[in-house]
């Protein structure tokens, strides 16, 4: 608040002389003349004045009040507006969306007066579809009433490498989980390009540089390898893609049981009803078929591929690239060396050196049954006669 003048209007004042008193809520202070001159009073005693408001004028000669007002008007600086943005023919939201999608907004046609959010989204969809005809691209999540509310990045979007039976198993497993979903499959088999696997589009051949672009564009979050039959293939793809910054996902069937403190690498595929005991450690890029049981404190290396029902007791250690058939039992504490192959139906009670091939010698014979109705009695009778 302006207090009062200590000098009359028209008085000559020297620099630093007290000319007025003002007060704020907490204090009263003197206003000193910033220069010498003849004083013209503008603010009324007791008036509320704003910061920056002119309360009086010092002039080198005595001037009339009208002249002072004219001078004030002439020299008034226009109120500084908030730094004016250049005129734009789009909404701010449209601009931000365009930046997010790396789209030049000046290229986006407007349906109405200004380019809107909907215009940018339509433009992005059109651009994505044209890319798809060129090479096959993962569909962006736009214009979807569900995905607008629950965008894809709330569920990890997976690119499945390999479009065979492994892919079907992975897609089947993903149908039971809510935190991941498959957005595309890639496979070198041209016959399935453009088709779908359980609703997931097969976009083309396995192409790392394409995938790097798609990942950079935010169209998928992680990859997973569905091929279990070739361990060298799994290892090569995993290492090459990882080196280019593509993350790998663990796909774990919802019926699997995972104990406490299990440590996971990435890129593992775990099918139905598998079990991981407490404190087990799983490396990277392993493929475990149904009913495998990796007991507590076991350690699994990388790039292993197991058939159904590989069952271990505790503290078993697997090296890298171990291949197991179906129905294998392994005793506690056994170490299976890297690059070993274990045939189906074995029970293993000793440490296995690296690069071992374990073959089964449990033979069995097959005989054809006689035609006609087969009964238990007839089989037993037949056995007695032989």
């Amino acid at each position: 608040m302006f207090g009062e003048w200590s000098k009359p209007s028209g008085a000559w004042v020297t620099k630093g002389e007290v000319v007025a008193v003002a007060e704020t809520t907490k204090s009263v202070f003197d206003i000193e003349a910033p220069a010498a001159g003849y004083l013209t009073l503008l603010a009324a005693p007791g008036a509320e004045v704003a910061i920056g408001e002119v309360i009086g004028v010092l002039s080198p000669t005595v001037v009339s009040l009208d002249a002072v007002h004219a001078w004030l008007v002439a020299t008034a600086t226009p109120a500084t507006e908030t730094t004016a943005e250049p005129a734009r023919s789009w909404t701010k939201k449209a601009e931000l969306l365009a930046e997010r999608h790396k789209v030049d907004i000046s290229q986006v046609p407007a349906a109405g007066d200004r380019v809107t959010e909907a215009d940018v989204e339509a433009y992005v969809v059109a651009r994505t579809s044209s890319q798809k005809t060129a090479r096959g691209a993962i569909q962006a999540d736009v214009n979807d009433t569900v995905d607008d509310r629950y965008p894809a990045n709330r569920a990890q979007r997976l690119l499945i490498i390999g479009g065979g039976n492994g892919a079907i198993q992975i897609i089947d497993a993903l149908q039971g989980v809510r935190h991941q979903r498959a957005v595309a499959v890639i496979d070198d088999n041209r016959a399935i390009h453009g088709k779908r696997i359980a609703g997931v589009p097969v976009l083309g051949a396995i192409d790392l540089s394409w995938a790097v672009d798609q990942h950079a564009a935010g169209l998928f979050d992680a990859a997973v390898i569905s091929i279990s039959t070739s361990i060298p293939f799994r290892e090569r793809i995993f290492d090459e893609w990882k080196s280019r910054g593509i993350p790998f996902a663990n796909v774990i069937h919802p019926s699997a049981v995972v104990g406490m403190n299990v440590t996971w690498g990435e890129g593992n595929v775990v099918m139905a009803l598998c079990h991981f005991g407490a404190c087990a450690t799983v490396g990277d890029n392993n493929f475990l078929s149904a009913y495998c049981s990796i007991e507590h404190h076991c350690v699994l290396g990388n790039h292993c591929s197991f058939g159904p029902s590989v069952v271990t007791s505790s503290r078993v250690r697997f090296g890298d690239r171990v291949r197991c058939g179906t129905g294998i039992y392994i005793e506690p504490g056994v170490t299976i060396g890297a690059d070993s192959i274990i045939a189906s139906g074995l029970a293993i009670w000793q440490n296995i050196p690296e690069r071992s091939l374990l073959k089964a010698h449990l033979g069995y014979s097959i005989r054809g049954l006689a035609t006609g109705t087969v009964t238990v009695e007839r089989c037993l009778r037949k056995r007695r006669h032989t």
């Binding site: 809520t25 909404t91 930046e99």
Partner: protein
Amino acid sequence: MTRATPHLTYVESLRRALAEIMADDPRAVVLGEDILDPYGGAFKVTQGLSTRFPERVFATPIAEASIVGVSVGLALRGFHPIAEIMFGDFIALGADQLINHAAKYPAMYNGAVQVPLVVRTPMGGGRGYGPTHSQSLERLFFGIPHLKLIAASHLHDAGALLKLAAADPEPVLFVENKLLYPLALHLSADGAVRSFATTLDRFGYPVTTATNYPAAQIPDVTVIAYGGMSRLVLPLFDEFAGEEIRVLACFPSCISPLDPAPLAEAAAASGRVIVVEESQTAFGWGAEVAAQLYAALGAQLHAPVQRLGAAPTVIPAAKSLEDQVLVSTAVIRDAVFELLRST
């Protein structure tokens, strides 16, 4: 809660509530510095009170520790004291009485005593009051067990909130905001506010959610803030509506302890959260909100929770410098843009 007349100002709402509390509750007493008429308190919240209730309104010496200490004693002996600390900066002098006495007694004496005490105080800067009259020192009291921090924004019925605090059996630090005092309360969907809702948190205090878009739409961003920050957030409503940016603002009134459920619901609606507090962000309220939201929502959040607040320094008296230190509408606007640009 009763809805206030739309045009009641924040200070008028509090003033009326104080008078009604005094009229309804013969054990209510009000004490503080310079609160007697004709001055009626530095911010005029108590204006008229000493004229109407001369025997229960007390002017005190400039001694905040004793104001709070005497109030604790009054509360222990069956009164319902409402103390005013003229500037929240000086609540530090009453901290020992609040933390080590008021908040602890009921538990220390196994429920044999209660301390139904309200300490009202204005916090916040923006008026060029300088380093020792501009702070938001409620930050010192976050997380003190059995001490409630209630902050009224102008999207709350401030007077009704004060009545809730006065009826609370636990001690309450009631945080007002200097720049809100002259503002009209905004308590319904009108103007740029397209939807307005109030729910109660698990402590029985109101949480206001307001949007700048019709209720059926999905927000782009959720702004969670309290108290005086409503002054900065509300101007964005109108501006953003014209730019297709849908903002949901959520203002809890019980800011410590904190019920995360209503905040998580507001945050999940957009998945992008900005927490605004007037004080510095480090070790602040926004950090607690963010931690609670991560625990409740995890991957439902599209982006890390953004915290906005004052620069980590003293608050200058010069207005131009103060503006650079304190959070502003412009800072919030830029944070919203950045969040929408990247996610």
